[in-house]
């Protein structure tokens, strides 16, 4: 971690549902350009934590800061303007929109010409500009379309040939790719990926891993939820382990994977590390 202000900083973030504390006083710092993974058994509170950071849910306590600024409980639409992009665990593409339109929605927060920052009558101007479409608006739209093609090209031949197809017609893996493409179109400062390889086969997983690795190399700050430990170990600068809403371990991949508490959380008590880690030789 760098010495400057962390890009994302969580202090004591807590969320309870009735009697259940889904997220329990989580502290977390994410430096500029870092990739931190959150792992933990199902129900550990990882996705709830994502929801708290991205404004889909409000914390009952604690503070979330982005680049030093408090963003606790900001609405998701506002956070998009701050450069926070996320993908969803179960996949949320816009089924009836084409691949192109799905990814263009990702760039929505960056629209300038068609969304003049005028108070009060801004929305009406937006309606007027959408109908009249002066050259500035057309140029912006064309530029974004080019950008979308460039983003889709990062997925090889997976999405480009299907650019005009509706998202509901895509395979599951391609829908996950569209989600990531949509997130990239936001030009995010912070990217949150919720199980980006869930349901993917080994080849597809390897491709996704390569892409995330590229994004990291380009300097993007990434918070990743992932169950595939092999991938987590290869990509992450640090790994945070959650169980029952609490952070039970944090550190470099190797430290964490040999932590007794982590093994217990995953496998239950009384199991030795030797029998637990079958992926060891691969690393």
């Amino acid at each position: 971690m760098t010495g400057t202000t962390p890009l994302l900083s969580l202090r004591g973030v807590t969320r309870t549902f009735g009697g259940l504390t889904a997220v329990d006083h989580i502290d977390l710092d994410l430096g500029q350009g870092e990739l931190v993974s959150i792992i933990g058994p199902n129900g550990a509170g990882k996705t709830t934590l994502f929801n708290l950071v991205t404004g889909l849910d409000r914390p009952d306590g604690g503070e979330v800061r982005l680049g030093g600024q408090v963003i606790t409980g900001f609405a998701p639409e506002k956070l998009a303007n701050y450069g926070v992009a996320r993908t969803f665990q179960l996949g949320r593409v816009f089924g009836n929109l084409s691949v192109m339109d799905n990814v263009l929605i990702g760039a929505h927060a960056r629209l300038k010409a068609v969304k003049p920052a005028v108070p009060l009558i801004g929305p009406l101007l937006e309606l007027g500009l959408a109908l009249l479409r002066p050259s500035s608006v057309k140029a912006e739209e064309e530029r974004l379309r080019e950008e979308v093609r460039a983003i889709l090209a990062r997925f090889g031949e997976r999405l480009l040939p299907r650019i005009d197809q509706p998202a509901y017609s895509l395979s599951y893996a391609n829908r996950r790719r569209v989600e990531i493409a949509r997130a990239l179109a936001l030009k995010p400062r912070l990217l949150l990926l919720d199980e980006p390889t869930a349901g993917m086969n080994p080849t597809e997983t390897a491709e996704m891993q390569a892409l995330i690795s590229e994004l990291k190399a380009e300097g993007l700050t990434i918070l990743l939820i992932e169950h595939k430990l092999d991938m987590v170990m290869r990509l992450s600068d640090r790994v945070v382990v959650m169980d029952e809403g609490k952070k039970i371990a944090e550190g470099a991949g190797e430290e964490v994977r040999n932590d007794r508490k982590v093994i217990e959380a995953y496998l239950g008590h009384g199991l030795s590390p030797a029998t637990s880690d079958e992926r060891e030789p691969a690393a």
């Binding site: 609405a75 639409e77 998009a80 816009f94 009836n96 799905n102 927060a109 509706p166 936001l186």
Partner: protein, 607 residues
């Protein structure tokens, strides 16, 4: 004060009646996450079965109650089996539309069988009043209270102590888990629809006896009141529905005491809007719910729209534009003028319901706002008709959007309820705001259509005018759909959670859609006002809202060309086949049902 106690008793008795409807709605919502818009129709059926039993068969009271419950339950079972079960794996909008269609079919069947004239439904009970403190209570009040309490007890015992009751509760909690544990969900649904229908039917009969009058307009009112009570108590919450009903009964009763009978419904709908805005999960829901489940792309039927080539559209527009030059009768032109006016409304609704996914059931209110604005401006301020119509459109856009804005945070069925209520509120305000709207007398002598000082007197000039306005609105809307707003609207419809995560504020974009759509509907209403020269609070009613919805589904949700094609088909075909007016709504209802079942994407496909 004796009257205060009387109003309280009256409120609780009426609340009891609402509870019978609301409990059924809550049960159905619990197991199938569906607001059954046909509940009021079953209530209507109950009232008329009661009338047949009492007046024609002269059955004793106990037999009447059992007969009504049995027939109503049978209707409920039929609705479940043939109307809703085939749609189980369908898109979310399908069962919602199906219950709306079923309700119209049932209402029309009752109306065709018994005629729309009100009938007296005697209560078969002695007409005495007992003094309680300072108020009085009659045997019918006691009967209603008795039926309400008995039903609640029976329901409680059923849900708590029988195996099927457990299955109902399990299904309500987690349908999938219940199925995995071997619960026959179809049987549960059937049971629930049967019980809900029996309660609804008895409620209709009791209300008929209470007011000693039944008519076919009862249905919509009952649905609205039941839904209000249910939503106030928290959708799917059975005890909540009872409390919500009592609260509704009391609010109405005290409201009537304070302001007069004509405001009764206004209080009911204001209560609904307040609850929806402040506590959308009902009064008894826990403060915050977990974030909703993803429902990606399942709201409307996925389909690839039929791409009509531009030249074909141009030819069609040209052909219709030249039609008045051919030797066609004024009757044909008049029919098509109606189609163009409906087309403008359908354009508006297809944007709101199809493109943004806000299934509005009160869209006729936008017509009314436009019509009254335009008519009043030209009548009172002598504004030229052309400008008045544009002002009507702008007023519909502004006021309509403002009125509908409380529902922007709602989803799915709740939007439909809220818009239905808002539509009723507009109609009630028009009825009661006599100093401006002339109340029930309506506005007459509205100046005829004119443009730049020239009166459009001939049928062909009116035809050209309305056709040109509709084509212009359609072109604008088509252009809107190809802009960033088009994809933004559709994104909100497909997944509002993901849309928000990418910076689409729901209020802003839903408002823009309603502003654009409100303008088209307002213009349509404005033209209609000058064309009819007389309007009142009933000119633009729920039937038109439903007709527009059928048109929109027929053409394909969100589909601009489809909206116009649907209007021509639904206005033109009944004329062509000379179908009598009273059968038309029945046919619209059946068309809606068939479409939902067999071609949910409509003729030209959803966009």
């Amino acid at each position: 004060m004796s009257s205060w106690l009387d109003y309280t008793i009256n409120g609780l008795i009426v609340g009891n009646v609402y509870a019978l409807v609301a409990v059924g709605l809550a049960l159905i919502f619990g197991v199938s996450r569906l607001i059954n818009f046909a509940q009021g129709s079953i209530y209507l059926v109950g009232a008329y079965v009661g009338w047949v039993a009492v007046v024609q068969l002269r059955t004793p009271l106990v037999v009447t109650v059992i007969l009504v419950a049995a027939v109503a339950a049978l209707v409920g079972l039929i609705i479940e089996r043939f109307g809703l079960r085939p749609l189980q794996n369908s898109v979310r909008i399908a069962p919602l539309l199906a219950t709306i269609g079923i309700s119209f079919v049932l209402d029309q069947l009752v109306m065709l069988t018994f005629s729309p004239n009100p009938r007296a439904l005697p209560s078969q009970l002695p007409d005495v009043r007992f003094q309680i403190g300072t108020g009085t209570i009659g045997p019918l009040d006691l009967l209603i209270a008795g039926v309400g309490i008995t039903s609640a007890l029976l329901l409680f015992v059923f849900l708590r102590y029988t195996k099927l009751g457990w299955a109902v509760r399990a299904t309500a909690q987690d349908r999938d888990a219940a199925m995995q544990m071997g619960v026959d969900v179809n049987r549960v649904n059937q049971t629930v629809f049967g019980i809900a229908a029996a309660l609804g039917g008895v409620s209709g009969m009791l209300v008929g006896m209470y007011y000693n009058q039944i008519d076919t307009a009862m249905s919509l009112q009952a649905t609205l009141k039941g839904v209000v009570a249910e939503v106030v108590g928290g959708a799917g919450n059975v005890p909540g529905a009872v409390v919500g009903s009592m609260l509704l009964g009391l609010v109405e009763s005290y409201g009537v005491a304070a302001f007069g009978t004509s405001y009764r419904n206004l209080f009911a709908f204001l209560l609904l809007i307040v609850v929806l805005v402040l506590r959308p999960n009902g009064l008894f829901a826990s403060a915050r719910q977990a974030p909703p489940e993803p429902l990606t792309g399942t709201f409307i039927a996925p389909s690839r729209p039929v791409r009509l080539p531009r030249w074909a559209l141009a030819i069609a527009v040209g052909a219709f534009a030249l039609l008045p030059l051919l030797p066609v009768s004024a009757y044909v032109l008049q029919t098509l003028i109606n189609a163009w006016l409906l087309g403008m409304l359908a354009l508006s609704l297809t944007l709101v319901a199809g493109t943004v996914g806000q299934v509005s059931l009160g869209h006729a209110a936008l017509l009314a706002i436009g019509a009254y604005t335009s008519a009043l401006l030209s009548l009172r301020l002598a504004v030229p008709v052309g400008i008045a119509i544009i002002c009507g459109g702008l007023m519909s856009a502004a006021l309509g959007t403002l009125l509908i804005s409380p529902s922007f945070r709602l989803r799915g069925h709740y939007v439909s309820i809220a818009t239905l209520a808002i539509g009723e509120i507009v109609s009630l305000v028009i009825l009661n705001w006599e100093s401006v709207t002339n109340g029930p007398i309506g506005l007459s002598g509205i100046p005829p259509l004119s443009l730049f000082g020239y009166e459009l007197t001939s049928a062909s000039s009116v035809y050209w005018f309305s056709f040109a306005v509709m084509v212009l609105l359609a072109l604008l809307q088509a252009r809107l759909l190809t802009s960033h707003l088009g994809r933004s609207f559709r994104a909100i419809r497909d997944d509002d959670v993901a849309a928000r995560a990418y910076g689409l504020g729901l209020n802003r974009y839903k408002a823009l859609a309603f502003i654009f759509g409100g303008f088209a509907a307002g213009v349509s209403g404005g033209i209609a006002a000058h064309l009819y020269s007389y309007i009142n609070h009933e000119t633009f009613n729920t039937q038109q809202s439903i007709l527009a919805l059928t048109v929109v589904i027929l053409g394909g949700l969100g589909n601009v060309a489809g909206a116009i094609l649907g209007s021509v088909a639904l206005v033109g075909l009944p004329e062509a086949f000379r179908i009598a007016a009273e059968y038309r709504i029945l046919i619209y209802g059946i068309v809606l049902l068939l479409l939902v079942r067999f071609r949910p994407q409509g003729l030209l496909g959803t966009i």
